[in-house]
Each structure stands twice: as structure tokens, then as C-alpha cells.
Symmetry: C2
């Protein structure tokens, strides 16, 4: 790890609790319109549209579109699934921006502050720049830059997304550590030449429904970002 | 100014003293190799190559290249002009990165902290992302994101650079204020639809060789970033 110069991070699930936050935000917006439903199930259904929508970009069926745009298209599908009709445009816009109002896991702000002392840090997320900026402001995330899908004009797990992040930091892929709570993200990053660190988020998708350990080979595995910082400190 | 949502900034000259810093850094690197010369003149000569190099990108003669790459090509020209030969590669690399070691004007860190309270802020510079990151770390500049030429894959004053910065923040151009010490930069930003603020840097290119006032119509004109923050506060 001696030549490591930068750390890039998955965000949804790894740094922020998308499921609990989307459930809360959806309830806040929709319950005042008389809607009552299983809010975590609504969050899961919205998230279930995520990969298929990005796949249309990855395969070239549609041109690159910001995740906010895909989230909005997916929202229409989910509203229909749950039988929610006649929402006005302003409400839909506000509900779609629920993805800008996600809360970070408790270790994240302090962990990033520590990791930033030794390394350049940036998100390498499929979220768009403005979404990342709003999450950073809300949760006090001290990014050096916002990298990821909108810079690369494509979506993870395509190699170009990881490689563009490294290039923006003037790093070779091997000088960059990709940090994520998802083994498939880390496997793709490793294939693109990056080093990898897994962070356990065992309750990401509900109690016990998250990765408590990686299912692929990784360079480091940590309980949270503070544990990751401890491990990297120990290498110095 | 009620609908203003983001501020984007020119960097070289507006936020950082490129001339004094490049003179100091060049002297630090070259004097130990026995070189003695007029260091501010060396800085001016290097900077004189800046616009012609970017013009090759803007006109499509060469593909987009990071400013670090153009600076390096320009360095070779300037070394020859000053009769400096036989520098080893590591020295040239270190000298070229002098542009990552520029000092901010005294009002900048505090001014940006204040401006960030109300608005999203980012550089909209021709400098590349890693260069902006190093200047931010050195000088404590609290950017929300790094926008500008490397995001747009073209160089100011092309309209796409200003418009890409606005789009990354989910803003219309009119919701964004471009801040610069150079009237030509502000005229181009205004043509691209942005609002404009001039900041006086009367000594940018040496004593009395900088703009103390704009020579084009602007929305705001300030003595420094703190004065700009005062003016924006007064609108609320």
C-alpha cells in the first residue's frame, strides 16, 4: 500500500443509508397527501428500478443521463406500482430529490476527515455531481473533488468510471483504493486496476440484509471507515 | 439576485497569485541548479504561452489536453528562451507542478467560507482537477465540487465551459454568478448567460498591472471576496 495516493468511495449503501432515508423522506412527502403504505417497501421498489435504468445507458440504448433523471423516470414506475395517482409536478420534483437528502452512517464524516489527512478523497458513485454535493453538505463530507459517473459519462461497473476517477487525480489505477460495501463494485474496480477495500454494512437493505464481509478477494476489509483509517495508518 | 444559487470562480489571478508564486517556485527549483535570472520575467514568459496553447484546443487543432500537459509543453519553450539546458526529467516534472503550489490572495479562504454559507461554490478555471485540488488543499479553499475546463473538455472563454459548470449544479446559467478579475472572462460568461462579478486584483501581473475595475458591464464589482460577500449578504 506504499504507493497509494487516493481513495474513491461508493456512496449509496457504503456511506449513506439510502433505504432508511428514502423511506423517511417518502413518508414525509406522501403521507400529507393521504398516502399510507409500507415505506421501506416503497424504498426497495424504487431502488429495484436502479440497475435496469442504468443498464440502458451502459448498453448504449439511451444517451448518458444524470441519475436524477433516471430516478425520476423510475419514480413514475413505482408510483404506478403502488397505485399513487394525481401527484402534482412540484411534489414529484421534491420527492425525487429525496435522494439528495440521505443520511450518512455514523462513522462516515469522522472517517473521511481522518482518511483525508493522508489521501485525496472523492466519491466514485453513480450519483450525479449535484446529488453528491447535497449529500456532502448535509452530512459534512470533506471531498477534494466530485468524481464518478457524471465525469465518465457512463455508469459503474463499467471500467471507464473507475479509471476516469484515477485519471482526474493524476493517478494510475493501482495508486487508487476503491472503497465499497458491495463485492460486485469491488470486483469491477479490481478488474479496472484499482486496489479495493470492503466496508461492512450488514443492515444496508434491512436488518441482516447487507454484506458483513466481502465475497471476492480484496486488499482490505473493515468494519467501518474508522477501522479502515486505523488499518491504513498502521501501514505508515 | 434573488434566484442566484451558485457561484463559480476564475482561479489564476482572481484567487491565487500565479506570478509571485511561479517566480518563487521557479527560483526554488532552478537556483540550486546554478540558474540565475529575472524570476518574475520567467513567470511572465511561461504565462505568455498559456493562451496560444489553449487556442490549439479551442480551435480543434489538438484534442483536449489537461492544463498540466500544456504547461509542460510551454515550459520546454520557456526553458529554451532563457537558455536553460540539461534539466533532468524529475526536475522538469517538479518545476511543472509549481502551478499546483500557488498561494491564494489573503482574502480568499475566508471569503469563500462566507460565500459558501449561502451558495454552492466551485472553481470554473482552465486548470485541471488535480491542480485545483492541490491549490484547495494548500490554501484551505472549501469547494463543493471542482468544475471547469476538464469537466467541459474545452477551454474558457468557450461558452460550453461556463454552461457545463451551471449544468453540473443543476442550475440555469442565469442562476450562477461567475466571479473573476478579468473583464474578458466575465464578458464571455455573460454571453453564455451567467451573471457576473468583478473582483479587483490591481497588482496581478506586477505592481499596477492588473484590473482595478471592470472594463465591461457586470452585475457586481468588489474590492475582494469579503466585499463581494458583504454585497450579496445585503441582498438578503
Amino acid at each position: 500500500m506504499t504507493a497509494l495516493r487516493a481513495l474513491v468511495f461508493d456512496v449509496f449503501g457504503t456511506l449513506v443509508d439510502w433505504r432508511g432515508s428514502i423511506a423517511r423522506e417518502s413518508q414525509a412527502v406522501l403521507s400529507s397527501r393521504g398516502v399510507s403504505l409500507d415505506w421501506p417497501a416503497f424504498a426497495d421498489a424504487w431502488r429495484a428500478q436502479y440497475q435496469p435504468a442504468m443498464e440502458e445507458v451502459r448498453t448504449g440504448q439511451i444517451p448518458f443521463s444524470k441519475l436524477d433523471v433516471l430516478h425520476r423516470r423510475n419514480l413514475e414506475v413505482v408510483l404506478q406500482e403502488f397505485g399513487i395517482r394525481d401527484l402534482d409536478e412540484a411534489t414529484k420534483v421534491h420527492l425525487n430529490l429525496a435522494w439528495h437528502r440521505l443520511d450518512a452512517w455514523p462513522d462516515v464524516a469522522r472517517g473521511l476527515q481522518r482518511l483525508r489527512e493522508r489521501y485525496r478523497i472523492a466519491p466514485c458513485s453513480n450519483g450525479n455531481i449535484s446529488l453528491m454535493v447535497d449529500l456532502a453538505r448535509r452530512n459534512g463530507l470533506p471531498w477534494d473533488a466530485i468524481l464518478g459517473a457524471e465525469i465518465a459519462h457512463d455508469y459503474k461497473p463499467k471500467a471507464i468510471v473507475y479509471q476516469s476517477a484515477a485519471a482526474a487525480f493524476d493517478c494510475t489505477p493501482h495508486e487508487v483504493l476503491m472503497v465499497a460495501a458491495h463485492s460486485n463494485d469491488l470486483a469491477a474496480a479490481a478488474s479496472a486496476g484499482l486496489r479495493t477495500a470492503h466496508v461492512a454494512r450488514p443492515d444496508e437493505k434491512g436488518p441482516g440484509r447487507g454484506e458483513s464481509a466481502p465475497s471476492v478477494p480484496v486488499d482490505l476489509a473493515a468494519r467501518d471507515l474508522l477501522h479502515l483509517a486505523d488499518q491504513l495508518d498502521a501501514l505508515h
